[in-house]
């Protein structure tokens, strides 16, 4: 790769990491959310409190965990509690500021599907399912969602609503009594979508460098709303890329030894 070049996944990870305010308590899943969260912790947000659903509170991994059960998490955590406790006292208890989710499908109200493609009782693709996503979406103060943008993922109608964003839009989330305010940003490999303050419909508000509105619209399965004044996401800095690549290399080296 030429100097200063970066992949679209790197752009997505860096853009997601920047959304993490220093000091926030962050409920995080394995994969891109975990990479972004740790990138944030290693750059502008050193006091971020990482919470994994296995019960590790304040984990400070030096390499990315292979799964939520990784010893790297429990050994570096401030506290390790049971699964019933992490979900009841901590997540449902309203103590987590930010949740960070991936998804297989998303709709225009930022509801997500991670359960099945096709009919639930006779699925075309059986996906892993909710895990903790449903409660993360419901109970964190706010939620970030990250996934690659294309027509199969950004759909008019979800095959299954696993975790609620804004449900039918407007005030339908509040009416259901969910305490968290819902997804505030959807970060993709093409840009950033944010909910309209009133209708809660996802609106393209930022384009990653080199991406066009047409590309994003074409990758979206509904007529995508576009903000009148579009931002351009700042490209990853050399420092961001260097920390992220170091983290990924360190991780690959550590895991290569585990055969």
């Amino acid at each position: 790769m030429p100097e200063g070049a970066y992949t679209s996944d790197e752009m997505m990870t860096v853009a997601a990491a920047r959304m993490i305010r220093n000091g926030v308590t962050l409920f995080v899943g394995i994969g891109l959310p975990s990479a972004a969260a740790n990138l944030a912790r290693l750059t502008h947000a050193p006091d971020t409190v990482l919470i994994y659903e296995s019960g590790t509170i304040g984990a400070k991994p030096t390499v990315l965990p292979l799964s939520i059960g990784d010893g790297e998490l429990s050994e570096t955590a401030d506290a390790v509690v049971s699964i019933p406790e992490i979900f009841s006292y901590w997540l449902q208890g309203g103590r987590i500021g930010l949740g960070f989710l991936g998804a297989a499908q998303i709709d225009k109200y930022a509801n997500i599907n991670s359960t099945v493609i096709g009919d639930y009782n006779k699925p075309k693709v059986r996906l892993p399912g909710s895990g903790g996503a449903q409660e993360i979406a419901g109970f964190c103060g706010e939620v970030l969602i990250t996934l690659r943008q294309n027509n199969r993922a950004f759909v008019k109608k979800l095959d299954f609503l696993t975790s609620g964003g804004y449900f039918e839009g407007g005030d339908s989330r509040e009416k259901l009594g969910l305490p968290g305010k819902g997804p505030t940003n959807v970060i993709t490999d093409l840009g950033i979508l944010t909910p309209d303050p009133e209708t809660k419909e996802l609106t393209l508000t930022s384009l990653h460098p080199g991406i066009t509105v047409e590309q994003v619209v074409a990758a979206t399965g509904w007529p995508l709303k576009v903000a009148p004044k579009l931002d351009v996401t700042a490209a990853p800095t050399a420092a961001e890329l260097s920390v992220l690549r170091d983290l990924n290399e360190r991780t690959a080296r550590a895991h290569a030894g585990q055969a």
Binding site: I68, G69, G132, T162, G177
Partner: protein
């Protein structure tokens, strides 16, 4: 809660009629292909699934351990799981009128968990990511614990997770028994096996060859482990 590779093996071998779960994947790798084949195609036999989210599973195990008929939580509102799982109901708070989800208690016939140490009396010490293991043990009619080692004295730190022998049906020393997963303080997860499993389980014939050779063709856990070590890239 999170069926791992061993579940995939049981499902592919036709040993599973029903799966109660909240996340079914190969963690950090992808799908459990045998689970997918059973759900998507009914191979080798149809599988009944009862699906929850993690918090619901945790509440149901806690309820089981507590001898309560159901576990209670906020959540599930507005989602599709409630349409397909009749065991998720809603109750009203008698004080505030708030709507709360209710899940029947899990009371497994048998729970099997792996821990780090037992003493000679059969008291078990576990540490690290303990998950829902204590609840799953206490909710079960019978509980079996395998441990990395049996020691004279557990030297349990204060408030650590200890299961007294009198709540357990059997304690067995099985070194490496968490394979291919972690046993904190003993070994990391065998990540190469998790990756290899994605290849092995993706195809029915490959899976069948694997299970015939390594599981059905070996007489105990030690021989199974040796047989895997002898195989190139676990396949």
């Amino acid at each position: 809660m999170t069926p791992d590779l061993i579940y995939d093996q049981l499902i592919g071998a036709g040993c599973v009629k029903k799966l109660v779960f909240s996340w079914g994947g190969n963690p950090g790798v992808g799908s459990l292909h045998r689970l997918r084949d059973a759900v998507e195609n009914g191979w080798p036999q149809p599988i009944e699934i009862e699906e929850h989210a993690h918090a619901g599973m945790a509440a149901a195990y806690s309820a089981g351990a507590s001898n309560l008929p159901f576990g209670m939580l906020r959540g599930y509102v507005g989602t599709d799981l409630v349409k397909y799982n009749q065991r998720i109901k809603f109750i009203d708070c008698p004080f505030t009128g708030a709507k709360l989800a209710a899940i029947p208690a899990h009371r497994p016939d048998v729970t099997v968990v792996h821990a780090q140490k037992a003493d000679r009396k059969g008291n078990v010490l576990m540490w690290g990511v303990v998950g829902v293991q204590k609840e799953a043990v206490l909710a079960a009619k019978r509980a079996i614990v395998t441990v990395e080692e049996i020691v004279d004295d557990l030297h349990s730190p204060p408030n650590s997770v200890v299961l007294p022998s009198w709540v357990l049906s059997a304690v067995c020393e099985v070194k490496g028994g968490a394979f291919p997963s972690y046993a904190q303080g003993y070994y990391q997860r065998d990540n190469a096996f998790y990756k290899a499993w994605d290849f092995i389980a993706r195809d029915r014939a490959t899976f069948q060859t694997w299970i015939d050779r390594h599981v059905l063709g070996t007489k105990d856990f030690a021989e199974y482990k040796r047989s895997l070590e002898g195989a190139t890239s676990h396949a």
